[in-house]
Point group: D2
Chain length 274, copies 4
């Protein structure tokens, strides 16, 4: 192999997949052995983490993924998908436009909640007890970042029905030794401490709960967003497809008889126009 | 509710999700019951089809999804994801740019293979036997659409190691009555008939094999592409994440010492420039 | 240069840009000479066509580009841009999600209108007079493709105020010999013939009029869509930016007190759930 | 108008465009008067700023836009566009995937350079002389943000041929009173101060130079990125189109005989597989 060839091969260096004619291995495992022996959730774990998960770990990942697929057309991602589906583009394009908007605000709460939990864990690892560590992390958060703790409170649901159920799943997994349960404890302490400060409970939401799961499973925080994107892609696809079947062309955000309120300059002439 | 309100609500009409404060139902099922009782693959089915799948159906869908996650950085989708990850955008954006390119050529073979199988099935339903129906569909395909039958042959693998294994999974499911096996039979007949015409076997590839699964499970053809997008999103995410960890800024397609070959106009002056 | 190196360079072969350290040439012209001597519209032409346009050609291209920048938030592209801007993504991402939906239905009318004009021109070039050629093309269009001729009629404007003004610009350019005016004649004949068949005028819209300009200027039909994307990107950017300044988080399609109408399954239990 | 109707209209409130059947106004100006009297660059200004620019201002904006259209296929945006064009998606989709990657690293240098200039201007406005203000802003930048000042230095060009030419255009505009020239002075002082500290000149690049123009013209910093996206869209479109005409299917980053270097796990068996 000459130097150029090596430089080109090295430019696209990866640990994930190895390929030769007739042969495909992911993380060392031949694809034909993975098929039928490893579930979609296990495969997702293998691709992202490099090793196969235990059964309990895979189950918990599967649960987090299936729980966040959709929150209806009020979510910009879902509305974008449905609108795109009426514009004459492919399902892949509708997916892309929609997943694209899962940014810091619409898709980042899980990642942010997880980063927040990890800051508490770090304090604990320095010997600070949970309640004190939580106080310090909250103090620091409120001082520097904002007034809403990511993963807690919901603008629509007084109690997000997904969160307590997901926490129960984590407890179950902790009891059987699949995970330690430390992040469930951290999250609950955060909820308690916020309630103490605000004088009312701001209950954990789906992002706060899936962040517990991803943290318990040892994913790095940015993948909380990545995994949420995989999950929400399901709802995006379902809505794009339903809209395709409903038909419609150039679906705007509101029925056609309504436009928008205009608040700009009164009518005026272009200087120089006749 | 006034007329405007009704018009607005109706504009975003859906069968998929129902929501009230504190309550989320998908296709009628409350989310807190789905969590822990229904797998990610089952949830994908429920969202797209409206009903929960049987266990065997869910297993087969899961297998199709896990089998197509990645084909390495030579695939434009994967290369795009890795390049995007070095440009200062989020993982959601890297996913979007990459999923976006799963168009007719890069992501459409499954959908096209399935449409082709369905054309054979339609002929069978009119009483034409399988071998004759296959001949007719191939004749019509070669006359109108192209010389490569979608789902057969691979530019890299002499035999795609995923295809025979996936077919074996379909056979297993057919033996236990989960699916009929008719599309496996159709696909094998297509392979035989192509071999007969070309004088050599052009073996089924991953797209031809997953199309068999999606057809056996009763998905409409366009969802073969939609489901492939969900599947490939896993590899896209894994590569975007690996690239993020490797670092790099503005990763071009080849190492920086190489540019491109220029074949245009020789150097010339702009008319009017000094 | 070794063989690998050559293969790599050739893989990215282009006529558009030549580069050496300290030197950039587009289509042969050095960038430092282009700057200050060539307008944005001329540069767009040079990049797409390979040669610099005449002044009158550049002016007409400039007019087509400036005329289609925006049609308000009822257009899916504009609504998507504004929603994206509230999701925590960059302006580049908001642009991408929005430009992405300029598909066959939302962004393809100009390309389709131009293809239709070209079909009439082809008939003329075979010696068929304009009125007869128009009839034949319309017959063939109605038989094969649809009932609405692309580029004519508007769901909101009884008369699209942009179209007659753009046609006047083409006439002016034709009078001064910049263009031939043949596509303006074709488009007007199409309008007349449709009016004759339907018993009422279906007036030319912006897409029909810009298609005339792009055809007069000799662009291939697919670039009518490409150029529309450049044009509409301006409105998309302006709306994304205005929304950014207005603020808002996760802007859905309608105010938060409204959701959507649900038409699916009545509430039901998950089989097997407690 | 009932309350719901008002709420819906207000949800999409804008100063940019007003529309009634047969009537379109941008910022108060009727579209039919704008067409033919206002150039594409003037229209871009009007859409983003709310008022029409003077002739000299429009010329400078036009220059900045035309100068940054393309930097060849080594730029991820251009490579992505060309790859996308071979995947069976529309030109709008190729544009979207490519513009999408103009993130903080690939498309943000102009915005960052402008923010840096503005920090110096702010110090000047507090009475600190230019050389001292520049020193303080550089000190603060090196302490907090990084070692490379955005807008200076280029990994490929020893001297970016676009930058001095663009600065000359600003000087010309300053001499005729179109702009003040203060940001040209700031940028030159930054270049001098960096040279003084590093012992060698790190010359201004295209991003540093267009940031001068956008700052002189009074655009807010985030629009430096927005305008760059409009500009680069031209090159993206040209390359996507050239690739379309060249043909190719599923163009990967390197010729097909090369794959990538694999650095992961050695071949291994899936536990539980036969």
């Amino acid at each position: 192999m000459n130097e150029t060839e090596q430089a080109v091969l090295d430019w696209w260096q990866t640990d994930i997949i190895e390929m030769r004619p007739g042969e495909i291995r992911y993380r060392g495992y031949p694809v034909e052995e993975l098929i039928g022996n490893v579930s979609f959730a296990q495969m997702i774990w293998l691709m992202l983490r490099g090793e196969l998960p235990g059964e309990g770990q895979a189950r918990l990942l599967d649960i987090a993924l299936m729980s966040a697929v959709d929150h209806g057309p009020q979510a910009p991602s879902i509305a974008v998908a449905r609108m795109a589906a009426t514009c004459g583009v492919g399902l892949n394009n509708a997916l892309a436009s929609a997943v694209n908007v899962l940014g810091d605000v619409h898709g980042g709460a899980g990642e942010q909640a997880m980063a927040f939990y990890l800051s508490i864990q770090q304090r604990q690892q320095q010997g600070i007890p949970l309640d004190q560590a939580t106080k310090e992390s909250l103090d620091s958060y409120f001082a520097e970042q904002g007034k809403f703790v990511p993963g807690f409170g919901h603008r629509f649901h007084p109690i997000d029905p997904r969160a307590p159920r997901l926490l129960a799943m984590v407890d179950e997994a902790a009891q059987s030794g699949v995970v330690s349960g430390e992040f469930a404890a951290i999250a609950r302490q955060v909820e308690r401490e916020i309630a103490h400060r605000k004088g009312k409970t701001i209950p954990m939401n789906i992002d706060g709960a899936t962040a517990v799961i991803y943290a318990e499973l040892g994913f790095p925080a940015p993948l909380a967003r990545g995994l949420f994107c995989l999950s929400r892609s399901v709802g995006i696809l379902a809505h794009a497809w339903e809209q395709t079947e409903q038909g419609g062309r150039n679906k705007g955000p509101v029925p056609r008889q309504y436009t928008w309120s205009y608040s700009g300059e009164a009518p005026r002439k272009v200087p120089g126009a006749e």
